[in-house]
């Protein structure tokens, strides 16, 4: 099922003319025949959920936007994709920059927004150029700028590069950074829908979320909701990596069995020759890791599906999360301790340092894991890691603290033997 990537392999689709020939910007023409609120209603009906990781209902988020404040309202596209294992927004934007612009135009119209921003991960410098070119093209054809297609609706879109901090993907840190300040997450409430960019009502949405809106405008919310299972509607981009035969970005209809995604030749194509599945990180580095048997089936023995609900089946004891769709497959030769240490290193490096549990705890976690991985671990270190993770989880300003704690707690929950093996082979202790 291809809704987002439909025309992604058409040559020159990143150019306005080719994109337009393939039905591009039709939703902008259609939206002008609709009332803004009709689009909000369609998005609500579609069941579309935020693709940036949290999976919050987009229609609901939009309806929270304060329409009565009298202040300007903003739409901000979160294109700061920095989660290890997640590379779907980048793949999408470099192929279909116009589709994102189109998504921003119709979403801005729906929300009554006249200024929108795309906050792009700074390392993606070529994409920044592509987006700026796309904006210029859309403008010169009247789809963007003042009085779009002769209507009363005007919109300016600005592209803003980030400077390389993972935390600037967290929406309130992103807004601070966009305002020219240090990328520190804000203390919530207030939420952006009430006081966001420059203190004004703001919606922050992921690239993939906004890119789905033109299709919903064209085909209706019901058609979108017909794809998928239950509350997991529509399609999702999954960036698959690890020791699989066909790493890459795939668009799937939500509800696809995990087993099929890993082993089918239409997707990952199975593991490399002679290797078997050991563990799966289903939604980017921040979600709990699952051992092979819990990756493809739930603890209750049901097939595990690629949906928000099925992946979470069993809670944190035996489940995980769809997250941002970074699908990391580890084979039987992968070392879980090394992988866990690697993630801990990342979270230590990227903690903004604003709140004490995360600032101090992420450093501690990394140091202990580094010791274990380098043969200086003690048996007590394993439970200590679990304890440190508990001291962080749920006590921080932003969700980064949880993201740093969960992968470690889950790795020990499911692969304790491997940690024990590491410390029992340790040569000297500290």
């Amino acid at each position: 099922m291809q809704i987002l990537l439909e025309n992604s392999s058409v040559a020159g689709i990143d150019q306005f003319d080719v994109y337009r020939q393939h039905g591009g910007y039709a939703s902008v023409e259609k939206m002008l025949t609709m009332a803004p609120n009709d689009i909000v209603e369609a998005v609500k009906k579609s069941g579309l959920r935020g693709r940036g990781g949290a999976g919050f209902s987009t229609g609901m988020k939009w309806s929270f936007l304060d329409q009565k404040s009298g202040k300007p309202k903003y739409l901000v596209c979160n294109a700061d994709e920095g989660e290890p294992g997640t590379f779907k927004d980048r793949y999408f934007m470099e192929r279909l920059p116009h589709r994102l612009i189109e998504g921003l135009i119709v979403s801005s119209y729906a929300l009554g927004v006249n200024t929108a921003y795309i906050y792009v991960r700074g390392e993606l410098s070529w994409i920044i150029t592509q987006l700026e070119d796309a904006i210029a093209e859309a403008k010169s054809h009247g789809f963007l700028g003042s009085k779009i297609l002769g209507s009363e609706f005007s919109l300016e879109i600005y592209v803003h590069p980030g400077a390389g901090a993972y935390i600037c993907g967290e929406e309130s840190a992103l807004l601070e950074s966009l305002e020219g300040k240090r990328g520190y997450p804000r203390i919530k409430p207030p939420f952006p829908a009430i006081a966001g960019l420059y203190g004004c009502p703001t919606v922050v949405n992921n690239v993939e979320t906004l890119a789905a809106v033109p299709w919903i405008v064209m085909h209706g919310g019901e058609a979108y909701a017909a794809i998928g299972i239950g509350k997991s509607t529509g399609t999702k981009l999954i960036s698959a990596c690890g020791n699989i035969r066909k790493p890459g970005v795939y668009e799937i209809a939500l509800g696809l069995p995990v087993e099929e995604f890993i082993y089918s030749d239409s997707y990952c194509g199975g593991l490399l020759e002679g290797r078997t599945l050991k563990a799966l990180i289903a939604g980017g580095s921040s979600v709990p890791i699952l051992p092979a048997h819990l990756a493809t089936t739930t603890a209750a023995g049901e097939p595990r599906l690629m949906t928000y609900e099925s992946l979470f089946e069993g809670g944190f004891e035996s489940g995980t999360m769809l997250g941002s769709g970074g699908f990391i497959v580890l084979d039987d030769k992968a070392c879980i301790v090394r992988n866990t240490w690697n993630f801990a290193r990342f979270y230590h490096h990227e903690s903004c340092g604003q709140c004490s549990p995360c600032r101090e705890g992420t450093g501690w976690l990394e140091k202990v894991l580094e010791r274990i991985e380098h043969g200086h671990g003690r048996t007590e270190d394993i439970d200590l890691l679990v304890e440190i993770a508990k001291k962080i989880e749920g006590k921080t300003i932003c969700a980064f603290g949880d993201a740093a704690a969960w992968p470690i707690a889950s790795a020990i929950r499911h692969f304790r033997d491997e940690f024990i093996e590491h410390v029992s082979l340790a040569k000297d202790h500290v």
Binding site: A165, I187, C355, S356, W364, K391, K395
Partner: protein
Amino acid sequence: MKVTIDGIELDVPSGTTILEAARQIDTKSAPPAMCYYSTLKDSGGKCRTCLVKITQSSAQNTRPSMRLVPACRTLVEDGMVVQNNLSEEVLEARKGIVELLLINHPLDCPICDQAGECDLQNLAFEHGASGTDYKEERRRFPVQDIGPDIKLHMNRCILCFRCVYVADQLTPHRCHGVLNRGDASEIGTYIAKAVDSDFSGNMIDVCPVGALTDKTFRFKSRVWFARPMNAHRECTACCGKTVVWLKGDEVLRVTARKDDVGEVKDFICNGCRFQHKKLEDWVIEGPMHVDRHSVISQNHYEQLQGPQDA
């Protein structure tokens, strides 16, 4: 608005935080606050020592909150029920946070000027565990001069951001702030620029630990050997109401006055703080009130009563 904290109900105006409400009940049992400072706008939310549990969000919404919330930045709702010292979960979380605040702290209290009036000491004493499993190296920074009057011991800093708010809100051009990220964060100045403005000295008073110390007082005396006296002078720059810390007739240091939760309400100027170190500069009002649980209270007599008055 009615709010219940640890079983005690009280009425507060809307816009009151849980912390302020708890302080109205009793400043001693209120959640510890290492970063919030009522006279500094936007402060709070960072240290997480004030986390409490909401067991009922409001009269309409009887559900508990999903996670612990910072009392200093969470507004009271009508009918809210909060657990502070009565919640095991809160006490456990607090213990964990105290430990995390201490893992990289040098624990150099014996040579630290702040000892005896240090919020981190008090916090560890009241809410901390007796030991830690931390076995790694502690983070280390060189000691620095930031400006002519203030010494920075970054090792001791808990990154409460109070000094940054002082610089932002009390001085005309902030030239110091937090550099770097995560546990490499440090208080630093803009390309070694001196922190030197009329009100910069207040950073020393708001600093909960011995990270920012008064260069005119360093190593002169333990605070509990000095006699704190409320004093004032005519000052055109500030309120002129201070505490002078005496040893005999010598003025060892001058600080702003703190209220019963240890916060400065009237900030003082650097002139009063650093330049008026003679007893005759000051009108002495009488001994400063010292809580009898504080080490500073030793040999400190406030309302001397003869046996005949008793």
